[in-house]
């Protein structure tokens, strides 16, 4: 029996202890649940000794949400949330090294200006651009640059934070949240467990 829902890209953020082995535990859990880690960004947080992670997990939403709960079960994970349906902002950074010739260079520079990308390196036969933004923006710049010949693309993966509240008394990002354990688990978090069928 397969899970009932379709695969989706979900954004999960986590606050974890900054210790060796923590990422292996997290990755191991995602692997066990059959979730693909499409992107991953890790860095120190505002709290000493703690890191923040943003990862994009591809899988059925109910499994991703469950995986977030299982991540919280890890001793070194302080919190983990599937924030896809919460009000959040996210960015990605890409470095794109593209082939240029005397004829194409101007065109590449013009494109980068339109996309508000920074030129961070110019070589004899190449230009390297730095672009920040959502995935679509980065994808379209890469598509447009393709015909010049892309030498290398390096993307950081998504980093995300919840938006600040619009109204007094609400928690950040919570006004669109769909997950509220306090009132029980809504029926959409319902997956068909794999029946092992073994003795």
């Amino acid at each position: 029996m397969s899970t009932q829902s379709k695969f989706e890209a979900r954004t999960v953020t986590a606050l974890v202890e900054d210790r060796p082995g923590v990422l292996a535990r997290i990755a191991g859990l995602c692997r066990r649940r059959g979730l693909n880690i499409a992107s991953l960004a890790v860095g120190r947080s505002e709290n000493p000794g703690l890191s923040r992670l943003t990862f994009v997990l591809e899988g059925p939403p109910s499994v991703v949400d469950q995986c977030a709960a299982q991540l919280e079960r890890l001793v070194n994970v302080i919190e983990a949330h599937d924030i896809t349906n919460m009000n959040h902002i996210w960015r990605e950074l890409a470095l794109v090294k593209v082939k240029t010739t005397a004829e194409t260079r101007v065109e590449v520079l013009e494109l980068s200006r339109v996309f508000r990308a920074n030129i961070i390196d110019i070589g004899a036969n190449s230009v390297t651009l730095e672009l920040t933004g959502g995935r679509e923006k980065i994808d379209s710049l890469i598509t447009l640059l393709d015909r010049f010949g892309i030498i290398e693309v390096m993307r950081t993966g998504r980093v995300a934070v919840l938006r600040g509240t619009l109204f007094e008394g609400e928690e950040d990002g919570q006004f669109q949240a769909n997950r509220n354990w306090a009132n029980g688990v809504p029926h959409e978090y319902h997956i068909t467990p794999g029946v092992s069928g073994s003795v």
């Binding site: 709960a69 688990v185 467990p193």
Partner: protein, 563 residues
Amino acid sequence: MGKTLTGGDIVCEALLNEGVDIVFGLPGGAILPLYGVLGRYPELRHVLVRHEQGAAHAADGYARASGKVGVAFATSGPGATNLITGLATAMMDSVPIVAITGQVGRAAIGTDAFQETDITGATLPVTKHNYLITRVEDVGATVHEAFHIARTGRPGPVLIDIPKDVMQEVGTYDYERDSQINLPGYRIPTAAPDEQIDAAVKLINEAERPVFLAGHGVIISRAFDELKELAEKAQIPVVTTLLGISGFPENHPLHVGFPGMHGEAYASLALDDSDLIIAAGSRFDDRIVGNVNEFATRSKKIHIDIDPAEIGKAVPVDAAVVGNLKHVLAQMIPKANRGSRPEWIRHVEQLKSDHPSLHIPETGNLSGQHVVRGLSNVTKGNAIICTGVGQHQMWAAQHYRFTEPNSWLCSGGLGTMGYEVPSAIGAQLALPESLVWSICGDGGFQMTMMELATAVENRLPVKYAILNNNHLGMITQWQELFYMGDTQADAYTANPDFVKLADAFGMKGMRVDDIDDVESAIEEANAHPGPVIVDFVIEKVEHVYPMIPAGGSIKDLMEDTRV
């Protein structure tokens, strides 16, 4: 005030401070610096096993029986990998164990050194948490943290890997300092928020046909009295899971049985007929749920669990209560209405008489059910029962009448054959005054029977009842029912003579093949001061009924047509 000690000494001192009195283990090069100092700590009794899997299962049996943390020692490489089955068994069933393994010296780690295994890597998915210690200063704090994690919240196994040179190095141990726990990401639920309690109690008060699905969490949290009080007050029949057995007395009028694949038909039917299932410390295992779309479709579900990740994992729920069951039930008792549900209770009684799942079909030959019935009669439900995995386990669960809290030990989640021999050793050491009977399969018994030597060596009067069908019986059953009956690979044609084997190990051995001799043999075994094997020669091919096939539903219920 800190003490200056070697890493090995720090381990021992910290174990003593954790209240450890017994460790199960087997030495090897990498853990010798720890074994070398063990003699200085006579209060730490070391039980030498014959195989490290036995150490892990014995620690597990000790932990289940005592409620304390079980401890196992093993050396690096093969010693450590031999623990893995035992750790996985404990992980699945939430059993607190601390395993300490020796590791090659720090400089050699990662170089494919002799007997080097990345045991923290290998045990990541089968431990609640694990550690590789790299500084002697961390030894004391890590041991205390490991015990804290193993025993609190949802219990589980924790492994500590200690390089040989860390055990030899000298550092300081300061109990006051090292027992401070600082785990920002680790929460231990106790009482549940009032909103959750109120929402759940509202459902209970409104229900006409409520039923408890009481699980292993009842035993883990020792919530026996609270469960009984709430069940009696609100008049709620109690179905237990396989691991919830002995969480509620089986001679209580509200006791129903266990549901699922091999549970009593009336217990599964009671779940199906209910309008509210209160899962209390049970995780809706797939052996109970089967096809989730057809599971108890007319009932609402309350799920009480200490682990938020369990809630909504297997079945959708209408009210989630996250907390320690003992607290949660105590919170619910005053709020639950005094119930009176005579019709529903009568209905459940009617299910019991319509479906005599415990009736033993008489063929004239000795069967596993007879043996368990005999054990139950002779011991009056007062023994500690361990089992292996297979048909004998199911017959034990069905036919033994458990009246004492926490008197049932088996591997439920992992289904580990071989659990029966060492777990009983651990249980007997935890409860020296108790009568411990292990109901064994001839298959499982042969997986760990080398530990009989451990029982004899430690003068443990464990009684082993082998339900000897000369088969991997449960496999034969599946072959016959679902795989066109090819049973050539699950029949034993050359089992050892278990009575002679008993003799070889220096224990008493008996053989019984007649129904009439069962109870007298059990009495004789009970009267014998040392360990005993009783080889019960039972019907070779016999199926366990009732049965709901894997992934099935109540509609697929198969009952014994002979009863």
